[in-house]
């Protein structure tokens, strides 16, 4: 293509790029375009009716609210976990560190049935919550629990490397200038991990919005109450209502692309901050 390619002695440009582009086009671009074209054949009225049906709107609200709460819980406890893993030593630290990745490795269906068994009113945790009248399984709280679980590694894994690279000199300078420890953490450390924290937050949120497997068992799937948007898509596809499913699918795809743009800008900001 360009001159530098012609001058390069390294072979394989045509074949590797050609194969990659073909593979991406066939497996990704073409099918995704197919969904948009399929939806474009619907009339605007049908499309609007499908995506703004009260049951669907209720599912957006639940999916976005529960994802927001789950990601927020992870922002707090994920930062805390990253801090403890980087700054302190305690017995079993290596095991704890490895275990953080479990939600990435454990199949979501397994996580789903494990969580509902734990939080059902007869479960190990649920029976004690029941004493206080708190119902987790088959309620909105259950959805939040599942979405917190699957988003757990994101904030930890984005904040951890930034904290590990953080220059101790800055903290020492802050302390030497008379700042209290709390002020140093709040005014010196927190601002420098903020881009990474927000990236992890957005990643956890994006993953939670689309999550299906770990939620459907614990949520109970009651229309208007505990029905998440991905479940509605599955339900419509199973009833062969492909128009309805595709319309909601397009809304979710657009939300995902928007989130991806946000995440990329956050990462760009983080790398700029890291370089400065």
């Amino acid at each position: 293509m360009s001159q530098s390619v012609n001058r390069s002695v390294i072979p394989g440009f045509g074949i590797t790029l050609g194969f990659s582009l073909l593979y991406l086009s066939l497996l990704f671009l073409l099918p995704v375009a197919g969904l948009f074209i399929f939806t474009a054949q619907m009339s605007w009225q049908d499309f609007w009716q499908a995506v703004s049906h009260p049951q669907v709107v209720a599912s957006y609200k639940l999916s976005f609210m529960a994802s927001f709460i789950g990601a927020s819980i992870n922002a707090v406890f994920g930062t805390l976990t990253a801090w403890v893993l980087v700054r302190y030593s305690f017995p079993g630290k290596k095991i704890v560190d490895a275990l953080v990745d479990l939600p990435f490795a454990l199949p979501t269906a397994v996580a789903g049935i494990a969580l509902v068994t734990l939080y059902a009113s007869t479960g190990w945790v649920g029976q004690y919550l029941d004493l206080f009248g708190i119902r987790v399984a088959y309620s909105e709280i259950g959805v939040v629990i599942a979405l917190t679980y699957i988003g757990l590694p994101f904030v930890v894994r984005t904040v951890q490397p930034v904290l590990a690279d953080f220059e101790k000199e800055l903290e020492e300078a802050s302390a030497a200038l008379g700042a209290s420890r709390l002020t140093t953490v709040r005014r010196v450390i927190l601002p420098s991990i903020l881009p990474a924290l927000l990236t992890g937050y957005a990643l956890a949120f994006a993953r939670a919005v689309g999550e299906y497997g770990s939620v459907i068992f614990i949520s109970g799937n009651m229309p208007f109450k505990t029905e998440i948007t991905p479940l509605l898509i599955v339900a419509k596809a199973e009833q062969y209502d492909y128009n309805g499913a595709a319309a909601i699918g397009v809304v979710m795809l657009l939300a995902a692309f928007l989130l991806l743009v946000l995440i990329n800008s956050l990462q760009w900001w983080a790398s700029k901050r890291g370089g400065a």
Binding site: S8, G12, L27, F77, L80, W83, Y88, A105, L106, G210
Partner: protein
């Protein structure tokens, strides 16, 4: 001048030396550690424990019966078949695209890198839907497939395709930054010294990217065996035919066969634990390599 004095007097006046000023008191440290352990036990350890307890509660024999049940064995075979196809294909794709991106300059590179990440952002359920529509009777390929009596949706090929899609980025996104960072000097040296392209790849590039490749393959494998939402839409859930292990677990759970559901889950849980151990090991190896280099 005055600031200097104040700084000086401050350093003398406070009883806490610098080391304590940049650390936390023990009670703060241990309450943070404690809070983290409670949070992680609740969210990570207890779910793990409940799966293993549920699987072995009624003894090894019941567990074994659930595993050797014909439908369970069919699900295990199908999951293995999926892994044998999906992991190598996406590994080859990952190496190819990383080679093109890291060794050459071309226009649209940044766009290409951001496209690779997209399958991560798309809900698994939407992935399944995309292919049901693509191969379905209303889609572009549907009529042609029907004419030639080929079944993709509600059959094994559909399952393989959605899992290929869902795990597409794993190897690529591990290798691209790694190979970009390594540059192309070593390959150029090898080629100038007379080795051909394949020799250079096998003897120079592959040893350099070995750990990144293993890491990507391990993650790809973990995701491929557990893929659920996308498969749920395209499989049609035909028992003994198109149920992967996660779908078989769902069927068992919905039929109130909890012990059997947890028994099959325990196999996937075992593989998940192997995955995180391998991942830590690869990271450890990689760290040591960086330190000695």
């Amino acid at each position: 001048m005055s600031a200097e004095i104040r700084l000086h007097s401050n350093a003398i006046g406070t009883k806490t030396p610098l080391k304590q000023a940049t650390g936390e008191p023990a009670w703060v440290k241990w309450s943070l550690v404690g809070t983290m352990l409670v949070f992680l036990s609740l969210f990570l350890v207890l779910p793990l424990a409940v799966v293993l307890y549920g699987a072995f509660e009624q003894g090894l024999q019941v567990w074994w019966q659930a595993i050797v049940d014909p439908d369970a064995l069919a699900a295990i075979r199908l999951t293995l078949l999926v892994l044998v196809i999906v992991v190598p294909v996406n590994a080859i794709f990952g190496v190819a695209i990383a080679w093109a991106i890291a060794k050459f300059e071309f226009r649209g590179k940044t766009l290409l890198i951001s496209i690779i990440d997209m399958p991560f952002a798309i809900s698994p359920v939407v992935v399944g839907l995309i292919f049901v529509i693509f191969f379905g009777s209303h889609g572009w390929l549907g009529p042609w497939l029907a004419e030639h009596d080929l079944k993709v949706i509600f059959a094994v090929p559909g399952i393989i395709i959605v899992i290929l899609f869902g795990t597409l980025p794993f190897v690529a996104r591990e290798l691209i930054p790694l190979m970009q960072q390594q540059g192309k000097e070593e390959e150029e040296a090898s080629l100038t010294l007379g080795a051909n392209g394949w020799q250079t790849f096998w003897r120079v590039t592959l040893p350099n990217i070995k750990w990144g490749l293993i890491y990507g393959v391990v993650l790809c494998n973990a995701r491929a065996m557990g893929e659920f939402g996308a498969v749920a839409i395209v499989s049609g859930r035909i028992r003994g035919e198109t149920n992967t292990m996660p779908l078989h677990i769902e069927v068992l759970y919905n039929e109130y066969m909890f012990t059997a559901a947890f028994a099959v889950s325990s196999l996937l849980t075992g593989l998940a634990l192997v995955t995180i151990v391998l991942k830590s090991w690869v990271e450890y190896k990689d760290e040591r390599r960086h330190k000695t280099a």
